[in-house]
Symmetry: C2
Subunit: 195 residues, 2 copies
Amino acid sequence: MRDRRAERREATKAEILDAAWELVRAEGLATLSLRDLARKVGMQAPSLYSYFESKHAIYDAMFLQGNLELLRRYEALPEFDDPVDEFRSNARLFVGFTVEDPARAQLMFMRSIPGFEPSAETYGVAVRIVERGRERFKKLGVTKPEHFDLWTGIVSGLAFQQIANEPDTERWTRLADEAVDMFLGHINTKRGRAK
Amino acid sequence: MRDRRAERREATKAEILDAAWELVRAEGLATLSLRDLARKVGMQAPSLYSYFESKHAIYDAMFLQGNLELLRRYEALPEFDDPVDEFRSNARLFVGFTVEDPARAQLMFMRSIPGFEPSAETYGVAVRIVERGRERFKKLGVTKPEHFDLWTGIVSGLAFQQIANEPDTERWTRLADEAVDMFLGHINTKRGRAK
DNA sequence: GTCTATATCCAGATAGAC
DNA sequence: GTCTATCTGGATATAGAC
């Protein structure tokens, strides 16, 4: 039998998290306060403690949501005949994900909230995303771990430059395809020479 | 005639800023408080207002110091016979600067302090650094502005991945030289094709 | 589960004596 | 220029009534 009470509770938790996302998008990640958050969902601040045991627990749940969403998008990527298309869509996916919500990226990819560390369970999802990427790249012929790190450096670099310097333009994000060509040209050259 | 009083005052300001750097390096950029800072230099918190008109003014002075230091290092780079060496030393310089003091990089390159915007004068130094880099690259044959942006994306990407994920290793920083080769290979290929 | 009331603590900033 | 004292306001979190 359905547990209607538990369902209601989960719905409220989701509602709180939705409101939290709205606030951090509008006011910045570090500015989130329980007062504002409670008011936004029509509660008093202490009532939030019925749903989350601390403010960090809220950040943790947001961190988890963000990573689940990113994982979902990676897994939803279609199959491509040309591997180049997979690299490109991969890069575009990450850059787009970062730029569409800089506050979320700040939470997920930078260490900017004093004292906040994701819980082990939550962090596990982030690890799975990286593992998945690494394996996918192996299948596409990128076997050296250094090359995968180089890739993450390039792609995140474009994304972070964009949100840090010109969040409203596409100055760096539009370079994603060219960066992919550059990366593939590089590892293919090295492969060619090695043979 | 020397203004001994002004000199003393500047020395004290410098002492306060040194203490502030120590605190942010140890406790994190966002955690800096005027109480702690004052105690560290043997004052009470209100006394700091004799030297800086607000906490943001302290961040601003730090932002300026960081940028002046970075500019100084760029200008101190030796001349190289081989342009490749200049690109490499350039990349190593930025990556090293970022990794040696992540809190400083956070202040200078990310927007992580709520409400803090550098003053116009201070921001000007940051702009000069970028302008200088762009001009230098032009002289080295990197004429397309997109390629300069691609460069900053790559180099900062390696540096930021390093400090965000494994501040105590060299997993990404050691890839700097390879990234330079990749970048140069790419723009040379494009040049070759264009001819 | 939600509220009011409150505890506790901390922050940045100001007033005014010395 | 530095201090004490204080203002003002914010935060997270808890106790206990309903």
